[in-house]
C-alpha cells in the first residue's frame, strides 16, 4: 500500500523534488506498517552499498514507533544476511542496537538472531558493533538472569579475538552484565557461572592499552553495579600505575581509589621490607605519587581523588605538605640518629613512622628511592603544577581534607595563602573560597593575615568580595590583627568605593566575632581623648560608618564598651540603627532613651508577633467565607494592604507575605469580575463592559505565573492551588469570550482547549485532588462526562454557575519561601554621557546584577533591552556568566550587545532582567522524545517572562556611518 501511495505522490509532485519527500514521509507515518515497508523498498532499490548506507542513515534520523520496531528489525536482519559490504552491516548492527532501546519494545526476540549473526561474522568492526548491540539488549533485559548469563558467555568466547575493538566491547559487556552474586542459582543448562572479576582481571595485562583501559573500566562498572571487588585486584591495579599509557594510568588510579575505600583497614606489606601498613595509607601514597605523573590528565584525576580519602592516617596526610624526604641525602647518611631526632621533633620523613618497628639494620643510602617517595610533597607539587586544572583540583582536595582534619587545616594554611598569589584568577578565587570553608578550624596568625589582606587591592571584584566573605568568618588572634584588617579594609574602600556594602558587612561579622579584641581599640578608632572633646566625624563618610559598624557589632556582646562612646557616637548609633538596620544591631544602652524596640533575637519565628499577625489575618480571610460580597471585598483589600506593609517591615517574612497577598489579590480580582453586571444582561449589549472582566482574567493569569515561578521554596501543595486559580481564570476568560464574540468556531476551539487543560490538571495533580473538596475543579470533574458531550454554549453556562458557587481554597503556607529579586548594579543609569557607536555595528554593555532566590538562573534569567522605538530584545546570558557566591544568591556579570540604526540624537534604552518560565515543563515527557533534538528545543522554549528587576536606563547614541 505504501508503495502505491508513494507512486501516486511521485506522479503528483514530479517537479518539486524537495517538497515531495516531505509529504511522503508525512503520509507514510500515518499508516502503521509503512515504516518497515518503506525501508524495505529503499534497501531493495539500493544498487550499491553506498546507496544502502545512505538510506539507512536517512532512516536513522527519524523516530520509529514502538509498534513498528519489530517489523523494522526483521527487515534489517534480512538485509544483514544478504549484505556483503561490512560498512552496511555495521550500520545495520548499530541500528539494531538503537532500536532495541526503544521504550515499549522487548528485544528478547532479536537476541537469538543477533547472537547467531555474531557467530558467522568475520569483520572485527561489525563484531564489535554487534557486541555493542547485545550490550544494549542486555541492559534492557537486566532482570532476565538466563539471558544475562548467555550474553556473558558470548562475550567470554570473543575475548580471545585479535582485534582490540572486539575485546574492548566484550569487557564492556562483562562489566555491565556480569552476574553480581558468585553463588547465584546454578543454571540447569549447565552454563557455569563465571567469575567475572577473574576474567576481567586477566585482561589487565593485555598487550593493547585500550583493552587494558577497558578492563579497568569494566571493573569499575562492576563496582558501580554493587559488586564487591576482591582485594587481590589492588596489587594488579598498582602495577598498572606505571603503565606507559595515560588512559590506563588514569583508570588505574580510579580503581585503586575504589579498592582503598572498600578495604581501608586491610594490611598490606611494603615491598622490600618486612613492614605492613593500612591499605588506605598505601593507596594514598600511591595516588599521591601520581600527582607528579607525566600526563596532566592523570595528575588532575589523582589530585581530585586525594580529596575524598578521609580515612587516611594523619601522619601520611601531613607528609603531603613536606618535601623533605625527596632531597635530604645528608640526613640519610647518618640515618639512624637523625631519624630519632626527627621522630622526637615530630617531623616525618618516610612512609613509615621511624622508631616503632623500623628495621634495625643500617639504612642503606641507596635504599632511598625517589620513585616510591609516596605521599611526600604531593600537594606541594600539585599546587605548583604547570596546568591550572591540576592546581584547582589540588586546592579542592586540600579543602576537603582540611575540613575533616583540623590539624591538617592548620598545616595547609600557609600553602593556601601562597595560592592567593597564583597567576590565574580562577585558582586564586578557588583558594580563597577554600580558605573560607575551613576557616572554622583555624586561627590566622598576624603574618598570614597580612598576606591575605594584601589581596584586598586586587582589581578583580570577585576576588575582593570572596576575600570579604573570608574575613567574615575568619578567626583573628590579636588586636593588632583586627586593627590591621580594619586599616586594609578602609584602604580597599578608598581605592574601590563600590565595595562599600561588602566591606560593611565584613566588618559587621569581624566585630561580632571578636568583641574582646575590638574593646581595647575603641578609643583609638573613635579618636576620643580622655580630656578633650574631639571633632565630630562626618556621618556620611563611608569609612567612618565602617568603623562604627565594627564597634557597634562588637559592643553587642561587650556591655562595657558603650561607656567609652562619646555623645555624638550615641547619636550616630541611633541614626545608623535606623538607616542601616541590617548592619547595626540593637544595643542595650542603660540610661539612654535611645533603646530601640527591636525584637530580641531569642524569640523563635513562631512566637514572633509579626508572624502571628500574618497567620491571624490570613485565617480571618479564610474563615469568613460567607460574608456578603461587599464585606469580603473590603476584608480582602485590607488584608492585602496589611500583608504588603508587613512584608516591607519584616524582611524575613517578606516572601510569605507577598506570596499570600498575591493569592488574595487573585481572589479579589475573581470576585470583582464575577460581580460585573454583564453577566445578567444579554451578551451582545455589553461588548465593551467585558473589558474589566477580561482584564481581571489576564491579571490573575499573570499573578499565578508569578506565584509559581518567582518564589523559591514553593511546594507541590501550593502549585496545585496556583494551578487551580489559573484554571478558574481560564474559565473566566472562556465565559467572557463566549459572551462577547459571535460565531461558534472560535468558541469551539477554546472550549476544547479548556477541557484539555482540565484533563491535564487532573492528570498532573491526581494525588492532590482529595484536598480540593468543594472547589471549582472538584465540581468540574464531577460534570466532566456531561461537559465533553455538550455544546460550547452549554459548557459556558455550566462553567459560569460553577465559578460562582465554588469556594475559596485555603492556601497552605510553605515553610521557607523567598521571592526572587534582582538588582542591576551596573549600568548604574546615571551617566549623562551617551554611549556612542556607529550604527550597524555593535557596542558591548557590561551588565552586573545580583540575583536572590532564583532557582536555576542559568536557564531562566534573561536580559531584556527595550529600545525607544518599542523594539525589544531578549538576550540569553551564557551559563558561565553566572556565579554563585553563596546559597540562594547569584551574580550575573555579562555583556549585552546593543545595536541600532542611526539616531539623530542620543536616547535612552531600558535594560531589565526577566525570569523566563515554561509551565509545560511539568508535563511528563513522551518516551519518544528522549535524547532527541526535539525535546532539547522543547525544554528551552519559553512560555512567558516575568520582569523582576527595576529597569535601568542607558543613554546611547548610534551615529551614522561616516563615508
Amino acid at each position: 500500500m505504501a508503495a502505491h501511495l508513494k507512486k501516486r505522490v511521485y506522479e503528483e509532485f514530479t517537479k518539486v523534488v524537495q517538497q515531495q519527500e516531505e509529504i511522503t514521509t508525512k503520509k507514510l507515518r500515518l499508516t502503521k506498517p509503512s515504516k518497515s515497508a518503506a525501508l524495505h523498498i529503499d534497501l531493495c532499490k539500493a544498487t550499491s552499498p553506498a546507496d544502502a548506507l545512505q538510506y539507512l542513515l536517512q532512516f536513522a534520523r527519524k523516530p520509529v514507533e514502538a509498534e513498528s520496531v519489530e517489523g523494522v528489525v526483521r527487515i534489517l536482519l534480512e538485509h544483514y544476511y544478504k549484505e556483503n559490504d561490512p560498512s552496511v552491516r555495521l550500520k545495520i548492527a548499530s541500528l539494531l542496537g538503537l532500536l532495541s532501546k526503544t521504550a515499549g519494545f522487548s528485544p528478547d526476540c532479536i537476541m537469538d538472531d543477533a547472537i547467531n549473526i555474531l557467530q558467522n561474522e568475520k569483520s572485527h568492526q561489525v563484531l564489535a558493533q554487534l557486541l555493542d548491540t547485545l550490550l544494549a539488549i542486555g541492559t534492557k533485559l537486566s532482570e532476565n538472569q538466563a539471558i544475562q548469563m548467555r550474553l556473558v558467555d558470548v562475550a567470554c568466547k570473543h575475548l580471545t579475538d585479535t582485534s582490540h575493538g572486539v575485546r574492548n566491547k566484550c569487557l564492556q559487556l562483562l562489566g555491565n552484565l556480569g552476574s553480581l552474586e558468585k553463588s547465584g542459582t546454578k543454571d540447569a543448562e549447565g552454563l557455569a557461572i563465571r567469575d567475572v572479576q577473574k576474567i576481567i582481571g586477566d585482561y589487565f595485562s593485555d598487550q593493547d592499552p585500550r583493552v587494558r583501559t577497558a578492563a579497568i573500566k569494566a571493573m569499575l562498572q562492576l563496582h558501580e553495579r554493587g559488586l564487591k571487588l576482591h582485594q587481590t585486584i589492588y596489587n594488579q591495579a598498582c602495577k598498572l600505575l606505571s603503565d606507559d599509557y595515560e588512559q590506563v594510568r588514569s583508570a588505574a588510579v580510579q580503581l585503586i581509589w575504589v579498592v582503598s575505600q572498600l578495604y581501608p583497614e586491610s594490611i598490606v606489606p611494603i615491598p622490600s621490607s618486612n613492614e605492613e601498613i593500612r591499605l588506605v595509607d598505601d593507596a594514598f601514597g600511591k595516588i599521591c605519587h601520581m600527582v607528579s605523573d607525566g600526563s596532566w590528565v592523570v595528575r588532575v584525576q589523582a589530585a581530585k581523588l586525594l580529596g575524598s580519602m578521609e580515612q587516611v592516617s594523619s601522619h601520611f596526610l601531613e607528609q603531603t605538605l613536606d618535601k623533605k624526604l625527596m632531597s635530604d641525602l645528608r640526613r640519610k647518611r647518618t640515618a639512624h640518629e637523625r631519624a630519632k631526632e626527627l621522630y622526637s621533633s615530630g617531623e616525618f620523613s618516610s612512609g613509615r613512622k621511624w622508631g616503632d618497628d623500623a628495621p634495625k639494620e643500617e639504612v642503606d643510602t641507596g635504599a632511598v628511592n625517589l620513585i616510591q617517595s609516596g605521599a611526600c610533597g604531593a600537594f606541594v607539587h600539585g599546587l605548583e603544577d604547570e596546568m591550572y586544572e591540576v592546581r584547582i583540583a589540588a586546592v579542592e582536595a586540600l579543602c576537603m581534607l582540611a575540613q575533616s582534619s583540623s590539624s591538617f587545616a592548620e598545616k595547609c594554611l600557609d600553602f593556601l595563602v601562597d595560592m592567593f598569589n597564583d597567576e590565574i584568577e580562577e585558582v586564586r578565587l578557588q583558594s580563597i573560597h577554600t580558605m573560607r570553608k575551613i576557616s572554622n578550624n583555624i586561627t590566622l596568625r598576624e603574618d598570614q593575615l597580612d598576606t591575605i589582606l594584601g589581596v584586598l587591592e586586587d582589581s578583580s571584584r570577585d576576588i575582593r568580595e570572596a576575600l570579604h566573605e573570608l574575613l567574615c568568618c575568619a578567626n583573628v588572634s590579636t588586636k593588632e590583627g583586627i586593627h590591621l584588617a580594619l586599616v586594609e579594609l578602609l584602604k580597599n574602600l578608598t581605592k574601590y568605593p563600590t565595595d562599600r556594602d561588602s566591606i560593611w558587612k565584613c566588618l559587621k561579622f569581624l566585630g561580632s566575632r571578636h568583641p574582646t579584641l575590638v574593646l581595647p581599640l575603641v578609643p583609638e578608632l573613635l579618636s576620643t581623648h580622655p580630656f578633650f572633646d574631639t571633632a565630630e566625624p562626618d556621618m556620611d563618610d563611608p569609612a567612618y560608618i565602617a568603623v562604627l559598624v565594627l564597634i557597634f557589632n562588637a559592643a553587642k556582646s561587650c556591655p562595657t564598651m558603650p561607656a567609652l562612646f562619646s555623645d555624638h557616637t550615641f547619636r550616630h548609633y541611633a541614626y545608623l540603627r535606623d538607616s542601616l538596620s541590617h548592619l547595626v544591631p540593637a544595643l542595650r544602652l542603660s540610661g539612654r532613651k535611645l533603646v530601640s524596640s527591636a525584637v530580641s533575637p531569642n524569640i523563635t519565628p513562631h512566637e514572633d508577633p509579626s508572624h502571628q499577625f500574618l497567620q491571624q489575618s490570613l485565617e480571618r480571610v479564610y474563615s469568613l467565607q460567607h460574608l456578603d460580597p461587599q464585606g469580603t471585598q473590603e476584608l480582602l483589600e485590607f488584608t492585602i494592604r496589611d500583608l504588603q506593609r508587613l512584608g516591607e517591615l519584616q524582611s524575613e517574612l517578606a516572601g510569605v507575605a507577598d506570596f499570600s497577598a498575591a493569592y488574595l489579590r487573585c481572589q479579589l480580582l475573581l470576585i470583582k469580575a464575577l460581580q460585573e453586571k454583564l453577566w445578567n444582561v444579554a451578551a451582545p449589549l455589553y461588548l465593551k463592559q467585558s473589558d474589566l472582566a477580561s482584564a481581571a482574567a489576564k491579571q490573575i493569569m499573570e499573578e499565578t505565573y508569578k506565584m509559581e515561578f518567582m518564589y523559591s521554596g514553593v511546594e507541590n501543595k501550593q502549585v496545585v492551588i496556583i494551578h487551580h486559580m489559573r484554571l478558574q481564570a481560564k474559565a473566566l476568560q472562556l465565559i467572557v469570550t463566549a459572551r462577547t464574540t459571535r460565531g461558534v468556531d472560535l468558541l469551539f476551539g477554546m472550549c476544547e482547549k479548556f477541557l484539555q487543560e482540565v484533563d491535564f490538571f487532573q492528570r498532573c495533580f491526581i494525588a492532590d485532588l482529595p484536598h480540593l473538596q468543594d472547589s471549582f475543579v472538584d465540581k468540574l470533574l464531577d460534570l466532566m462526562p456531561r461537559l465533553i458531550t455538550s455544546k460550547p454554549a452549554e459548557v459556558v453556562k455550566i462553567l459560569q454557575t460553577m465559578l460562582r458557587q465554588s469556594t475559596f481554597l485555603h492556601l497552605p503556607l510553605p515553610e521557607q519561601i523567598h521571592k526572587a529579586s534582582a538588582t542591576i548594579i551596573e549600568p548604574a543609569g546615571e551617566s549623562d554621557n551617551p554611549l556612542r557607536f556607529t550604527s550597524g555595528l555593535v557596542v558591548a554593555l557590561d551588565v552586573d546584577a545580583t540575583l536572590e532566590h532564583v532557582q536555576d538562573p542559568q536557564s531562566t534569567v534573561k536580559v531584556q533591552v527595550l529600545y525607544p522605538d518599542g523594539q525589544a530584545q531578549m538576550i540569553h546570558p551564557k551559563p558561565a556568566d553566572f556565579r554563585n557566591p553563596g546559597p540562594g544568591r547569584h551574580r550575573l556579570i555579562t555583556q549585552v550587545y546593543l545595536s541600532h540604526t542611526a539616531w539623530t540624537e542620543p536616547c535612552q534604552v531600558e535594560v531589565r532582567l526577566l525570569l523566563a518560565y515554561n509551565s509545560n515543563s511539568r508535563i511528563p515527557k513522551s518516551p519518544w522524545m528522549e535524547g532527541g533534538e526535539i525535546s532539547a528545543q522543547a525544554e528551552t522554549s519559553i512560555e512567558g517572562t516575568i520582569p523582576f528587576s527595576k529597569p535601568v536606563k542607558v543613554y546611547i547614541m548610534p551615529k551614522p556611518t561616516r563615508r
Partner: protein, 524 residues
Amino acid sequence: MPEIRVTPLGAGQDVGRSCILVSIGGKNVMLDCGMHMGYNDDRRFPDFSYITRNGRLTDFLDCVIISHFHLDHCGALPYFSEMVGYDGPIYMTHPTQAICPILLEDYRKIAVDKKGEANFFTSQMIKDCMKKVVAVRLHQTVQVDEELQIKAYYAGHVLGAAMFQIKVGSESVVYTGDYNMTPDRHLGAAWIDKCRPNLLITESTYATTIRDSKRCRERDFLKKVHETVERGGKVLIPVFALGRAQELCILLETFWERMNLKAPIYFSTGLTEKANHYYKLFITWTNQKIRKTFVQRNMFEFKHIKAFDRAFADNPGPMVVFATPGMLHAGQSLQIFRKWAGNEKNMVIMPGYCVQGTVGHKILSGQRKLEMEGRQVLEIRMQVEYIQGLLPDAKKPRLLHGTLIMKDSNFRLVSSEQALKELGLAEHQLRFTCRVHLHDSRKEQETAARVYSHLKSLLKDHCVQHLPDGSVTVESILIQAAAHSEDPGTKVLLVSWTYQDEELGSYLTSLLKKGLPPAPSGGS
C-alpha cells in the same frame, strides 16, 4: 652490546663550559659547546684538540646539538666551527637559533672591544657559524643520517631550551641540558615521554637542594617592591638582559595589573628589547597562562613597562627600573645606583649571584660605604635586598651533593662516593696543567732546586716540599722540570693543580712566568 662512551670536555665537575662528547653505535655526537665565564685564558673554551688529535672535526663528529642559548652552553660555538673548523650540522631549536647570535655578538663585543682581546672570533664568524645551524621543532624526529636520529623535548629553563634524545638503532641517550621541573611565570615545566634511554645525562647542580615554595619567594619580592613604591621610593633591579629578566617583568606586570598600581616601570633598552621581541614571537614555548591569553593580549606586550631613558632617573616620585648589567659592575645599572643610593626610601634588589669584587657583591656583604673611582666615597642609605632562590640561575661553583643513578630501572639519589663504588669506577681528578718555559742551561734537578728555593722564599705560609724524585710540591700543586726536546738551553716547567686549588695554581703560574731570580753567587 655496542658501548656508549661519554667524554665530558667540560661541565664534568664544575659549572659552566658544558661540552660532552658521546659515542653511541659508532656515531659521535657533541652535546653543547659552551664557554666558561670564570676563565679568560685557554680554559675558557673546551679543549677541542682532544677530540681528534690532528684530523678534521667534520670527519669525526656526526652532529652537534645545542640545548639552549646560555653562553655556557653555546659560547664556544663560533670558535669551534670557524676557528677550529667544523662544517657538519648544528642542531638547535628555533628560539635558540634566533637568540643565540645576539648573545654571542654581545659576548664578542665585551671581550674584544672592552677587554681588547685579540685572536677572538669575529662577527662574520658568528654569522657563518649560524649558517650551519639546522633548526628543529619540539617532538620532531630528525634523521641526521640513516642511523642517527634526534628528537627534542621541552625543558623549561629559558625560552627555547630543549632536552634531546639521541638514538642509534636500539641504543639511546637522553641529554637534558638545563631544565626546570617547576613552571615559572613565563615558562612551563619540562616534559619527556617514557623513552627508556640506555643512558641519561642530566644536569644535577641543584639535585639535592630543596627549594622554598615558589610562590613564597615571588610574594616576598612583590611585597618588597610594592611597599617601597607605596612609600614613594624608587626600586632598582639590576638584571642580565635575558631569561630571568623576562620572568621578573611578567611578574611585576601582572602584579601591577592585578593591584591597579600606577607607578611606572622601566626597562633599560638595547639587548632586552631585541630579546623581548623574540619572546613575543615564540609564544608556543611559554607557559599555559601566556599561551592561552595571548589571543586577547600578548603578555610580553607590556602595558606598564616602558623603555628607560637616562633622564628618567631624576624624575620625582616612585618608579621601578630594570637595568643591566646584573652585578652592578658597570653601565646603566651602576649609574642609576649611584644616583639613588643616598636616599633611604629607595631600594635595590639583587636578583642573582654577584661575583666577588663587583659593587653588587660589596653591598650584599653589608658594606655601607663604597669607594668609587676618583676617590669619591659613596654612602649607601638605600635598602639592599637579595632574593635568594627566586632566580636559581646564579651559576656559582658548588660542590656536588649527590648523584642520580639508574639502577634496576629505578632512580636513586646517592652520594657521589657511593655512586662510584656501586659502579666500580675510580674517581676522576680534574687537574689543570700548564707549561712554563725557562731559559736555564743547567740540569733539570738543579732547575727544580732553584724553583724550590725561590718558591720557598716567597710562599711563607704554604708548605713547599722538594720530593726525592726531583719534583716540587706546593700544597697539592705539583711542579716538574724537564729539558726541552729541541733546545737544551730551555727547560720546561710542568705545573699541575687540581680544580679546587685554582687560585693558588694560577698565582704560581704567573709567578713562574716572570722567571727565576738570577742564580745565587755560586754560579759561573
